[in-house]
């Protein structure tokens, strides 16, 4: 028999933390708006993973419910974000955030 490690909730939490950090790094370091969206999705999926793992560990349904809402909101947000990018692309012909400097911050 091959020895099997017991996968505990901590494993999922660690994976989620790594995913969240990768997403955060992607959002802060990349300048293509589409890549930034993907990074946000990664962060939201890390959140989902934490919620589900915690729900499983507690034997509680609340976390799974939260995941359903996070999923739907994430999809709606991506739709909104892509619409904004398409709108910008029609005027500017670029998806790079660095080129946006009409409004000096």
């Amino acid at each position: 028999m091959i020895a099997a490690a017991i996968v505990t909730a901590d494993w999922y939490m660690t994976l989620a933390a790594v995913l969240f950090l990768i997403g955060m790094a992607g959002l802060l370091l990349r300048n293509n708006a589409l890549v930034m969206f993907m990074s946000v999705e990664l962060m939201l999926n890390a959140v989902n993973l934490t919620f589900v793992a915690a729900a499983r560990a507690h034997g509680d349904i609340g976390g799974q419910m939260a995941v359903l809402f996070v999923l739907v909101v994430a999809a709606a947000e991506v739709a909104v974000g892509l619409a904004i990018i398409v709108s910008i692309f029609r005027i500017r012909r670029t998806a790079s955030v660095d080129d946006l400097s009409e409004l000096s911050g």
Binding site: F20, V47, A54, A57, V80, G81, A83, S87, L103
Partner: protein, 499 residues
């Protein structure tokens, strides 16, 4: 599923209005789309009716639904009334603004009403999921509204910046929430409060609380999470900016009040100092940057960041004491400040919309000598800007008075230091608010401008109504502040109950 339909009536009416507006937008030909605005105004008026019946007939008992996750109590009712009133004013301001553009109408009101619905949900939410859904319902439509002028690159850029930082803050907030849930095993604030008391030494719990605060820091545009705000405020259409600086900000503060006072009362040593720092930074940086602005919308953007700092001040007072009366007073100060700020800031934005239309510029210098061609607008401008500065007898003075009272009550050196910072900032704020007044009243007309060409176009009725409502509130609340505070004391008692 036992839902209390009477308690849910305001939300149901607004939701039905949203569906009706969308339906009208689909059904009506383009030149009759103004009916959507009419439907929106009527819907919001109707939504206020059940609020009154609930407040009169509800008694002291809270109506709780969805396993304690959705509660309609005095706190929720007071804030819902503010959100509906604020939304109403923004709708009125939008009517003439949107009509003058070529862009679609129905969608505008649809999105604005959806955002208002989200803030109504925020006021009643008592668990993590509902807070999240409410908050997203508030901000999601605003991403699109900020980019309303589709052909304008600045509007698009405002929208994208707002969007990216908005979703980043959402992700951070959610990550904090998922940790809260993982550690406490509960999504309701009550469950988190009970379980959180046993997690005082848990580093993960402290981190989760901090993450949640950071998430809300973006929503309330607290420094250092404010950098999206000035650009977004300037690029978005002005009525949307008014809503951003009032409606979505107030919704963020409601969430913060609920989380700090209801979910995290056991870890005041975490959020107390964190909010102390946010308040001090927001007031100081917001005011110092506002001093240097030439564009009136940008000035209001930075001033609203500074006002957000003032609203945060009482939190620091509540964190250092165990006296329930002091905590209640702090919560009450925050609520009163949010409400008064909502009316005076909306009024100021209404003046900006009308002023920009009259003069054709939003540069402060271009408004010189306004009293000569638009005396009534100049009077209203002075009222709102001096109210924002906190000059009696306008409502702003009581907001600041209650805030100082709350922060001085605990008698702790840290809160006293924050009171000093707030006092210095109140003086700085007076300088730039007064500058607008001086420009309108004392400066000569800019070269080449004649009185005649600027008096020709009359103000739209809807905007005049919005200005009238806000000016009446600002003066009444300034003259009779203690009666007003009495109403909100009940709300504060509810939100701080059981600490």
């Amino acid at each position: 599923m036992d839902l209390d339909y009477h308690a849910l009536a305001p939300e149901i009416v607004v939701a039905a209005t949203i569906l009706l507006v969308l339906g009208l937008d689909v059904a009506l030909p383009r030149r009759r789309k103004y009916w959507t605005a009419f439907a929106g105004v009527v819907g919001l008026t109707l939504a206020a009716v059940p609020l009154v019946t609930l407040a009169l007939g509800g008694g002291p008992g809270a109506r709780s639904m969805l396993g304690g996750g959705y509660v309609v109590d005095d706190f929720a009712l007071v804030l819902k009334a503010v959100f509906i009133a604020g939304g109403y004013l923004v709708l009125l301001m939008s009517v003439s603004y949107i009509e003058s553009d070529r862009y679609y109408q129905g969608e505008y009101y649809l999105l604005l009403l959806t955002s208002i619905l989200g803030s109504l949900i925020m006021a009643s939410s008592r668990d993590l999921i509902t807070v999240f859904v409410g908050l997203e319902l508030v901000t999601g439509p605003l991403f699109l509204l900020a980019g309303w002028r589709k052909g304008d690159a600045r509007s698009n850029e405002a929208s994208l910046k707002f969007f990216i930082l908005g979703v980043l803050s959402t992700a951070v907030l959610l990550y904090g929430m998922s940790f809260l849930y993982g550690l406490t095993g509960s999504v309701t604030f009550e469950g988190i409060r009970t379980a959180g008391a046993g997690l005082l030494d848990s580093g993960a719990f402290r981190l989760a609380v901090l993450f949640t605060l950071i998430g809300f820091g973006f929503k309330i545009t607290a420094v250092p999470f404010h950098f999206w705000a000035p650009d977004t405020y300037e690029g978005a259409p002005t009525p949307v900016t008014a809503y951003l600086s009032v409606g979505s900000k107030a919704a963020g503060f409601v969430g913060l009040l609920l989380l700090c006072y209801r979910a995290f009362p056991s870890v005041t040593e975490i959020w107390g100092p964190a909010l102390w720092v946010l308040a001090a930074l927001s007031m100081t940086l917001g005011n110092l940057t506002a001093l240097r602005q030439d564009n009136i919308v940008r000035m209001l953007a930075y001033s609203s960041i500074a006002q957000g700092g003032f609203i945060l001040v009482p939190f620091a007072a509540a964190a250092v004491t165990n006296d329930p009366l002091v905590i209640q007073e702090a919560a009450s100060a925050t609520i009163v400040y949010v409400i008064i700020y909502a009316f005076m800031n909306l009024g100021a934005f209404a003046v900006v919309i009308e002023g920009a239309r009259r003069t054709g510029t939003s540069m402060i210098d271009g408004w010189a000598g306004m009293w000569r061609y638009a005396p009534r607008l100049a009077v209203l401008g002075a009222v709102f800007f001096f109210s924002l500065a906190g000059i009696p007898p306008l409502a702003g003075w009581y907001a600041k008075f209650a805030m100082f009272l709350a922060i001085l009550r605990p008698g702790n050196p840290w809160t006293a230091a924050l009171a000093v910072i707030a006092a210095v900032n109140a003086v700085i704020a007076l300088v730039y608010y007064a500058r607008v007044g001086k420009t309108m009243w004392m400066d000569p007309l800019p070269d080449g401008a004649s009185d005649g060409e600027r008096t020709a176009r009359p103000m739209s009725g809807a905007l005049a109504l919005a200005l009238g409502i806000s000016v009446i509130f600002v003066i009444l609340a300034g003259v009779l502040p203690f009666q007003l505070a009495g109403v909100f004391a009940e709300a504060a008692k509810v939100v701080t109950a059981g600490i």
